[in-house]
């Protein structure tokens, strides 16, 4: 019963702060609302007994990535920036793209009842041991490939920023 109330509360917070992210005029408010969304999603992970996932979600997204977002926005001081006027073609293409996404999502929701859900609150799939065994035994190759991909992206980002630095200095 309590978990059900928690579920509705967290969903409410997640959806409304998610809407607030795109509606706020001030980019700093957008980032703070996005952090709220991440926290409520981490709460959902906790409800599903996926504690490791919840903690990593907070540490990585709320604790590191969003701090960098906030850092950049504060540095750039975007407060006084005028929102540029969008052309009609731009608006129309945005509507079409959003409509297509909604079609895909509603198609996914239609078949959702066929998916077996993880056992709520008693499932052990999200605990550290089980997750570790799944990642390093059953899915070792995809996991390692994904980490190599991340490494390549990081090296690429460093290389690109270094290149610009040399050009401005020269």
């Amino acid at each position: 019963m309590l978990t059900e109330y928690a579920f509705w509360f967290l969903s409410f917070v997640a959806v409304f702060s998610g809407i607030a992210v795109i509606l706020s005029k001030n980019p700093v408010y957008s980032v703070l609302n996005l952090i709220m969304t991440f926290f409520s999603i981490a709460g959902h992970y906790f409800l599903m007994n996926a504690q490791f996932l919840a903690a990593v979600h907070i540490i990585v997204y709320a604790g590191a990535i969003m701090v960098l977002f906030l850092y950049v926005i504060m540095m750039l001081n975007l407060n006084n920036l005028e929102t540029e006027k969008r052309s009609n073609v731009f608006k129309l293409s945005a509507v079409v793209a959003a409509g297509l996404l909604m079609t895909v999502l509603s198609g996914a929701i239609q078949t959702a009842d066929q998916i077996t859900l993880a056992e709520k609150t008693t499932g052990t799939a999200g605990l550290v041991e089980n997750l570790g065994i799944a990642l390093y035994r059953n899915y070792l190759l995809p996991f390692e490939l994904a980490s190599v991909l991340f490494l390549a992206a990081m090296v690429g980002a460093v290389y690109l920023s270094k290149k610009n630095l040399n050009e401005t200095q020269a």
Binding site: A62, G63, L70, Y71, M74, L127, V128
Partner: protein, 344 residues
């Protein structure tokens, strides 16, 4: 969970909260006395014997001072900043095991508010979101010194979190658990983990100094460059919250270092004394607090001994020295465990 356990946990929660606040209050007194001692002065000696009532006088002064909110600041975020910083400082105390446990009527009441199996990750998570208080407060002040202080704080905390997390990974590899209760329990017999993880401990203590914004890493509030850093515009109890939360952070990180690397509440020959369970728990808690106060002393000692780093030195130390050392520590730990046959 039975009703009696629930009531016990609530009481323990309140006690942990009160002890952190009380310890933090008297740490301000201790810091001033220690600074005076190191600088050959007398220190606070007017309020009460040895100046012992000084923290209470300071608290009353903070509460009754005039509160100012700058006109062009963001009012709600300005208030939210110190509140959030204080909240994060108080949140970490719940996973620390303060003693073995009480036995009453056949049930064991553990001296730990909650033993979640991701205790260490919880600590890292709370530490990583703690920076928002400083960032929001510094930005909402609408002052360039506050903003620069907030930016420095956030970049410093992110940089040192990485090395801190990697230093802990080597410890987790050894213990095979993320629960603080089990990590302390494994040090019940034998040596404390600082013997096996000396490098990890050194990295961790340096990162703890940086995370708590203590000297020589107090660049976010560097008064010679930034007036007061992120709390330049704050007055009254909101300033008090920022300063007070720093002391709570110091207390909690001392407790974490004592439990992870120095055996927590365990002490040598504890089972040979032949003490009754509950008496042993009291002695253990006292020993744990003794260890915590030694670390707090080190925090203060370093503050009045070392000068502040320059900003580029801070970043070089974090990324080019501590991070490679932490990774090397993980690799060395892995090899030693492989050759000792500890891997399953």
């Amino acid at each position: 969970m039975t009703d009696s356990m629930l009531i016990y946990k609530i009481i323990l929660c309140v006690i942990v909260f009160a002890v952190s606040l009380g310890a933090a209050a008297y740490m301000t007194w201790g810091e001033r006395k220690l600074a005076a001692w190191l600088q050959d002065r007398v220190g606070p000696n007017r309020a009460g014997p040895l100046g012992l009532l000084q923290p209470i006088a300071d608290g009353i002064k903070m509460i009754f001072k005039e509160e100012m909110i700058p006109t062009h600041s963001n009012r709600w975020l300005f208030i939210l900043g110190p509140c959030f910083f204080m909240l994060c400082a108080c949140m970490t105390g719940v996973v620390i095991p303060w003693g073995a446990g009480w036995e009453a009527g056949g049930t064991i009441f553990p001296m730990q508010v909650t033993d979640i199996n991701i205790g260490l990750l919880y600590l890292l998570g709370v530490v990583s979101i703690g920076v928002y208080g400083v960032m929001i407060g510094g930005w909402a002040s609408n002052n360039k010194y506050s903003l620069l202080g907030a930016l420095r704080a956030s970049s410093q905390m992110i940089s040192y979190e990485v090395a801190m997390g990697l230093a802990l990974i080597a410890l987790v590899m050894m213990t095979g658990t993320l629960s603080l209760k089990e990590i302390v329990g494994q040090q019940d017999q034998g040596l404390a983990f600082v013997v096996y993880q000396p490098l990890g401990f050194i990295i961790f203590i340096i990162c703890a100094f940086a995370e708590t914004n203590r000297a020589p890493f107090d660049l976010p509030e560097c008064e010679s460059e930034l007036v007061g850093g992120y709390h330049t515009e704050y007055s009254s109890m909101k300033l008090g919250f920022f300063l007070f939360a720093e002391y709570i952070n110091m207390f909690i990180s001392s407790a974490i270092m004592a439990s992870l690397y120095f055996g927590g509440y365990n002490f040598p020959f504890q089972h040979e004394l032949g003490l009754d369970g509950n008496v042993l728990t009291i002695v253990q808690t006292a020993v744990f607090f003794g260890k915590i106060f030694i670390f707090i002393f080190v925090f203060m000692w370093v503050r009045w001994t070392l000068p502040r780093f320059r900003y580029d030195q801070l970043m070089n130390l974090g990324w080019k020295v501590l991070l490679p050392l932490a990774i090397a520590n993980i690799i060395i730990t892995g090899f030693v465990m492989l050759f000792m046959g500890k891997l399953g």
